[in-house]
Symmetry: C2
């Protein structure tokens, strides 16, 4: 054991933890609105009333801050999805999940899109570390969906041979693609159409005709 400490496990007082969290949340908001490359540390400083020393006290560099932002956004998305899919038991409930996604997009006024989707598009080719982190985010997300579908399969709503993993990935793709078109056109309709497609893709495996 050396006396050295990495920035990651640097001792944090409660006061410090609050400041760090405040920085992460503000950075998440800024990056969501403008993209990681378009948010300077100076802007983060202004918005959070912090100094450069504080940023470099709590984060090794900008990339480390982005890493924490991705973690935060991923956990938010997983939480929102899990609350709709954690006990998925009907196509009506699945529709409610789709409506939640659409409502979330509407709430952003058609700006920003998906917090991790935008970052994936921006960073996947720039930073291998970010790419792997975002791959995990997508994987976690599709797993939440997959578990919901699996439950529907267990209770007999879906055919027993339904490839829930494959369908879940396709559903995430539909959401991501729909959001890109929606934010480019500033209309909700492309996202609605994409989600309709995703839900129809699930219904195709319905054990009984449900609508």
């Amino acid at each position: 054991m050396t006396r050295e400490r990495t920035i990651a496990n640097r001792p944090l007082t409660p006061r410090g933890a609050v400041t760090k969290q405040r920085i992460i949340e503000a950075a998440a908001e800024l990056i969501y609105l403008h993209g990681a490359e378009n948010v300077s540390l100076d802007t983060v400083m202004d918005v959070t009333n912090t100094s450069k020393s504080q940023l470099y006290h709590y984060f090794a560099n900008k990339q480390a801050l982005i890493r924490d932002v991705i973690d935060l956004q991923t956990s938010r998305i997983l939480a929102a999805n899990a609350s709709f899919l954690g006990a998925l038991d009907s196509f009506v409930a699945l529709r409610a999940w789709g409506d939640m996604i659409i409502a979330a997009f509407r709430a952003s006024s058609g700006i920003g899109g998906c917090p991790i989707g935008s970052l994936a598009s921006e960073l996947s080719t720039q930073s291998e570390e970010a790419r792997l982190q975002l791959r995990q985010s997508f994987s976690d997300w599709s797993n939440v969906i997959e578990n919901g579908l699996r439950r529907m399969r267990q209770i007999g709503q879906l055919d027993s041979d339904t490839d829930v993993a494959a369908v879940a990935v396709a559903m995430v793709a539909a959401v991501q693609g729909g959001i890109i078109l929606a934010k480019t056109s500033r209309e909700t309709r492309p996202l609605e159409l994409a989600i309709d497609m995703a839900l129809a893709y699930v219904k195709r495996h319905a054990s009984v005709v449900v609508g």
Copy 2:
């Protein structure tokens, strides 16, 4: 009529036109690989063996260059799609279209994704002009698909009440979303799954069961 000329209609000698085109194509390649914000004019100069004066001789500013790059990439995508969808008459032909998309992604080694999709994600919230241009690109693209589907409907392969416009938009969304997941994971499978979903969504409207 004033003597003033905008940069857009500045007289171009054949020699100048060649240089301008060379710049646009090189910039398109660089932007495809690294994103618009991550390509500096100095890099474009290096790659094309041009000087700063030349860039500003042929383009009003960086944004104007990006505009021409989007035009180029859009025309390439439309051409590739039209060659598969221009005389669409069967689900087999539609499958060939999907395979072309997958092959194009593979050819990029899983890097870069869709030239206009990446730009849409990056620029839609940064530049209103770029956003509108990219919205038109997506619209043109889905129109090509829509016309293909309409033809299939006309020849009786699809139900007469099929909403070809809606299905076409959903298909574009599937492709875009599939590409994001594919480039983030550096695997082709998410794109394949998304395209399977899109094709299934079309087949749902098949007049006769085709498999």
